[in-house]
């Protein structure tokens, strides 16, 4: 909302600068987005002048040489306007004046005649767009008087960010009321207080009729009729006001509706009554598929959720949003039907969204105006119609008011103010604050019965709303800073949250860089990963590339690795810890099924390596392979006290021989693997290994507290063995066989070598294991352990293996 300061100060004029006014409004909830300047950079050098003579320029057909009285004497000004004439009162820019574009006016020789100044057209000072001629001002103005005294050519404009609960502040008088409440500076009388005088012995009902067929969309519709209307340009002051407020001047009738809206917050619409077919207005819901061309020249199609203002034959306007071409006021218009109605905010908002059509009117109506505001706007508009358009107002007002609203009275307990704010505000101050905000108060035992003014009705309906009003005017900056008593609260992370931090730290400590990628991905990306599962698709994505929710973290990591490679960092080690999404089980929405979740959402942790260890001056970089990724999983799960096993398993995007499923405690946690070379090529990342695990399952598996094991009292016995097995037998199978054979005394095994060669035979390999034996109650001897050798050998034979001597 652009509020020209000169207009605002007409109604409330505190002794404050524009910036100070902006600050005060910001503290109470109506923040200026910016303070703009309207018009010329300085009003100096702009004065009223009288044209004494206007002669033809000797050397130019289109120029006149004028002698102009500037109040201090006469000066010569060369003027190109066709309408300049002796005897006119005009606006002058004298040499030294700075024009809106910033150029400083000097004396100039025009075709041999020195021109000492400029006679101004509207557009030259930003008042209007007219450049057909100079502005001709009323004769009663005194030569030499500052132009600013007559015309707003220089002003500050507060561009206010008005919150959706304050449609009253989408008006100059509303902001003035707010400023009055905040500063205590006097508030001028409501400009809607006085009505125009009707004349004639006819009645408005003789000229038009209004029917509200669907009262659920229209609580009130008022109409007045004017005839003898002279449609033409608006007076300069009105053009200047509208221009400063950011509105184009159209014609006096249209400008009046805009002016009244900007001043009072109530939008109006003027119909050319002779184009209202049947002189009859019917307010109703649209029929599905009904069409009409709106004032902006676009043909719109409506549905039955939308409200229309129709005439006897069809749509004539979209309720609360925009009028129709069919009944637009034009130069030929002589009879006007002025509409001031009240619409249902949510309905206007929804229709406006569906039509993709927002207007100054709809931004106000959608925030719910009160029916009492409609007639007030009619009064001001009527005065201006009579005054500016020479119109006659037909006696009476058509007032269809099915949604009659009584003033709202809210009980306010004084005790609750202190209880909610944490500071006591005396009763007298409460009463004064509410009074300044135009709330009427009647004292009660507990506090006050407060009557809410209509223009605040949508926002202030309960005690808490009144307390907000009191708090913001009393001064939020004056509240104490206290801490809650906190009788029952202990702050700590949950075990799952601690696991998440531990996992992230473990990867960070091993040199990985955490990334945060978008939760969206492209269907094509998943196709490149050869994934075919069902995804959760966004109904209104920003683009096809971000149209589905990612079911795994890998694509984000691949994207980041590819981007870094393109930027000169080919070898990276990245991880991410974030949600992944799949379509959920069909769940009942709340409140039917409280606490249900609409999608299958999990927290994953994943890493992608395009190098394992960085190269240094004495060793080359280690390529990222399966074992590099597995080492990270071992470290990460080891830090949580979780043991796991990796079993060969395939994923469509992984190397089929170098990928595994990670399981622990019977739960599948995720996968480890080298990227399928064809997939790696898609992202141009070279050799790459990755893993992705479900963090929520990890958190469930992590032991809450580790149990003690005695490892110091009794020494262990260590024994190294070498096992020869066919290549087809896995290390895990060997380990399991050794453990079966050795029994309970075997406390730990460590695989420390893998050997292939002649000594073990073609198709075989030898695994070297260090075995640690412990007994809980005695010191073991080598003989104890030697006795187990036979059993180990027997178990190894069952998997086709043998002990090497």
């Amino acid at each position: 909302m652009r509020v020209p300061l000169s207009w605002l100060r007409e109604y409330c004029d505190p002794p404050l600068t524009t910036a100070e006014i902006g600050d005060r409004l910001a503290m109470t909830g109506t923040e200026p987005e910016r303070i703009e300047h309207f018009g010329v950079p300085s009003a100096d050098g702009f004065v009223i002048g009288k044209v004494l003579e206007a002669e033809q320029h000797p050397n130019a057909d289109r120029l006149r040489v004028c002698r102009v009285d500037d109040g201090n004497g006469s000066r010569t000004i060369v003027c190109g306007a066709p309408n300049v004439a002796a005897g006119q009162t005009v606006a002058l820019a004298l040499p030294g004046a700075v024009m809106p574009g910033g150029q400083r006016l000097g004396e100039a020789k025009l075709r041999g005649v020195v021109s000492s100044g400029m006679i101004l057209a509207e557009d030259e000072v930003g008042v209007g767009e007219d450049h057909n001629g100079i502005m001709v001002l009323p004769d009663e103005l005194r030569a030499g008087a500052p132009l600013l005294e007559y015309l707003t050519i220089f002003d500050d404009v507060l561009d206010l960010e008005v919150e959706p609960n304050r449609p009253d502040c989408l008006s100059v008088y509303g902001v003035a009321r707010e400023l009055h409440a905040v500063t205590g500076a006097p508030l001028a009388a409501d400009p809607t207080g006085e009505d125009a005088v009707a004349s004639g012995d006819d009645s408005v009902a003789d000229h038009a009729s209004v029917e509200i067929a669907d009262p659920d969309v229209c609580p009130r519709f008022t109409a007045r009729v004017f005839d003898g209307v002279h449609v033409g340009p608006s007076p300069l002051w009105l053009k200047a006001r509208l221009a400063a407020a950011g509105q184009r001047s159209i014609s006096n009738v249209v400008d009046i509706t805009n002016y009244v809206m900007l001043l009072t917050g109530q939008p109006l619409h003027a119909f050319d009554l002779d184009e209202v077919r049947g002189r009859r207005i019917v307010v109703r819901r649209a029929r599905d598929g009904e069409r009409m061309v709106t004032l902006d020249g676009v043909e719109r199609t409506f549905d039955s959720s939308m409200a229309l203002v129709c005439d006897a034959e069809g749509p004539s306007g979209v309720a609360g949003i925009m009028g129709g071409r069919v009944s637009e006021v034009s130069e030929r218009t002589t009879r006007v039907l002025m509409e001031a109605a009240t619409w249902v905010g949510p309905n206007v908002l929804q229709s406006s969204a569906r039509l993709g059509l927002r207007s100054e009117a709809s931004t106000r109506f959608e925030k719910q105006l009160h029916p009492e505001q409609a007639l007030a706007a009619q009064r001001l508009a009527a005065r201006l119609m009579v005054e500016l358009c020479g119109a006659r107002m037909a006696p009476g007002t058509i007032d269809e008011y099915p949604g009659r609203a009584e003033p709202r009275v809210v009980a306010l307990r004084h005790r609750r103010i202190g209880a909610l704010l944490g500071t006591e505000i005396p009763r007298a101050e409460v009463e004064a604050i509410l009074g300044r905000l135009s709330f009427a108060t009647v004292p009660t035992e507990a506090g006050f019965d407060v009557t809410v003014p209509p223009f605040r009705d949508a926002d202030v309906q309960r005690e808490a709303d009144l307390i907000e009003e009191i708090a913001r005017i009393h001064g939020l900056e004056r509240l104490p800073a206290t801490l809650p008593a906190r009788r029952h609260a202990v702050g700590r992370l949950t075990p799952a949250q601690r696991v998440r931090r531990r996992v992230e730290d473990a990867l960070r400590d091993r040199g990985l860089c955490e990334v945060v990628a978008y939760s969206f991905t492209a269907p094509d990306t998943l196709a490149r990963l050869r994934l075919e599962e069902g995804t959760l698709a966004v109904g209104n994505p920003l683009s096809e590339d971000a149209s589905v929710m990612r079911p795994l973290l890998l694509p984000g990591l691949l994207g980041a690795a590819a981007r870094n490679a393109a930027r000169g960092r080919p070898g990276v080690a990245l991880f991410e810890s974030a949600h992944v999404y799949r379509p959920g089980e069909a769940a009942e929405p709340p409140p039917l099924a409280a606490a249900s979740v609409p999608a299958d959402e999990h927290h994953h942790v994943a890493a992608l390596l395009t190098r394992s260890a960085p190269g240094t001056w004495r060793r080359p970089a280690l390529a990222a392979d399966y074992f590099a990724a597995k080492g990270l999983v071992e470290a990460m799960l080891g830090s949580l006290g979780i043991t796991f096993s990796a079993e060969p398993a395939q994923r469509p995007f992984l190397h089929p021989g170098r990928s595994a499923a990670v399981t622990s405690g019977g739960e599948e946690l995720g996968w480890i693997g080298e990227l399928h070379p064809a997939v790696a090529r898609e992202w141009d990342v070279g050799e790459a290994a990755a893993f992705e695990l479900d963090l929520e399952t990890l958190a469930e598996l992590a032991p809450a507290a580790a149990g003690y094991r005695d490892v110091t009292t009794l020494p262990p016995v260590l024994q190294d063995i070498a096992v020869v097995v066919p290549e087809s037998v896995s290390a895990a199978e060997v380990d399991a066989a050794v453990r079966r054979g050795a029994g309970d005394l075997l406390s730990e095994t460590t695989l420390f070598d893998v050997y292939r060669g002649e000594q073990v035979g073609e198709g075989n390999r030898s695994l070297a294991l260090r075995l640690e034996f412990r007994a809980p109650d005695r010191t073991l001897t080598d003989d104890d352990v030697a006795g187990l050798r036979g059993q180990i050998e027997r178990e190894l034979e069952t998997i086709g293996g043998r002990l090497r001597a």
């Binding site: 209880a419 801490l483 609260a489 860089c513 955490e514 945060v516 409280a594 999608a599 260890a613 001056w617």
Partner: protein, 355 residues
């Protein structure tokens, strides 16, 4: 040789040997001295061998004296040997130099948490210290929790402020972390002190908006929480994150789910709230105002309690505050990051600067 002269000779030998040992400049010279004074053919060895031929009364004193000299010499030689070994080692090591300015190896790459994670943890830790618990919720959310139960029924004008990604009429990507207000109240009776970090989404993408970003929601509901308590808690937060000298101010604001609603500013930490940079120019961070907006907050609207009334949230008996802040905004302010989009480009040259 009479006893007295023998003794004298022993002292002469000891003195000579001491000189030779001390003068030995290397292992060969020391060995030479050892052979000469302690070797099989040395005078001392001969003397010791000949003790048996002495008169019985001289054997004891002479034997003891000769032995003492031998022991002393052996110690001296060993001591000298140690000294020579030490010196030789030092000499060897002095030649065995590495270029200490070369980088360490194997390289131990330093990892980094994302700046968002680091900032999220900083914020969580402040509120953990203030007695709040951390809870998280789904990002794919019901319209009910995201809007309706936060006092924004369908067609509420405030809905238009948040461009929303929808999956269906009822399911959306949460536009703020606030849906957890009602979820948490459904799950726990009062008192309730929580913060809710997480991803949020708005259908918006330009220089200052990304379609995904992160927020932390806060909620405190108890019998007697006041707007003053909100101010106190957020003052502690602002000082913990932005420095002990910071102040905060509350301005009136609007959120459909709080009443009263406030915007919270922190005093500018670049210009210390003066509005002017050193040198007198207008402070570039706060643009001369001395204050920076960091979050929105307010007292929980009674209508919100209406959605969890059966869980003990009666607005006549409990009251509380809620606040919500953008993690990226806090991080940008604190670390001077100029562009929101940097957070999601995942350029390691950016990531390596933090965490």
């Amino acid at each position: 040789m009479p006893e007295a002269s023998t003794q004298r000779r022993l002292e002469e030998l000891a003195s000579e040997a001491q000189g030779a040992v001390a003068g030995a400049a290397g292992a060969p010279e020391l060995e030479e001295a050892r052979v000469r004074f302690l070797g099989r053919r040395s005078e001392l060895t001969s003397l010791l061998r000949s003790i048996g031929s002495l008169p019985p009364e001289e054997r004891g004193p002479v034997g003891q004296a000769a032995n003492a000299v031998r022991v002393r010499l052996e110690a001296l030689i060993a001591e000298r040997q140690d000294a020579l070994d030490g010196a030789a080692l030092e000499a060897r090591l002095a030649d065995d130099r590495v270029d200490v300015t070369l980088p360490g190896d194997p390289a131990q790459p330093v990892g980094h948490l994302h700046l968002i994670t680091q900032t999220r943890r900083d914020i969580e830790d402040v509120f953990l210290g203030l007695g709040f618990s951390v809870v998280e919720g789904p990002e794919v959310e019901w319209d009910y929790y995201n809007f309706t139960a936060l006092n924004m029924p369908p067609a509420h004008p405030a809905r238009a402020l948040q461009d929303t990604f929808y999956f269906s009429d009822e399911v959306l990507l949460r536009t703020h972390t606030s849906p957890m207000q009602v979820r948490a109240m459904e799950a726990h009776e009062p008192p309730l002190y929580i913060v809710v970090p997480g991803k949020v989404y708005r259908r918006d993408s330009d220089a200052t908006h990304t379609p995904m970003f992160h927020q932390v929601e806060g909620l405190a509901v108890d019998e007697d929480i006041t707007l003053g308590d909100l101010r106190g808690v957020l003052l502690e937060f602002a000082r913990a994150i932005f420095g002990a000298e910071r102040d905060i101010r509350l301005r009136a604001g609007y959120f459909p789910f709080t009443e009263p609603s406030v915007e919270v500013d922190v005093s500018c930490f670049v210009c210390a709230g003066t509005g002017f940079a050193t040198g007198g120019s207008r402070c570039s961070l706060c643009r001369g105002s001395g204050w920076i907006e960091i979050l929105g907050a307010g007292m929980i609207d009674p209508n919100v309690y209406g959605f969890v009334a059966e869980r003990g949230y009666d607005p006549e008996r409990v009251q509380g505050f809620a606040f919500g802040m953008g993690i990226e905004r806090i991080a940008m302010l604190k670390h001077g990051v100029p562009d929101l989009r940097l957070f999601f480009e995942n350029d390691v040259r950016f990531l390596e600067q933090f965490g």
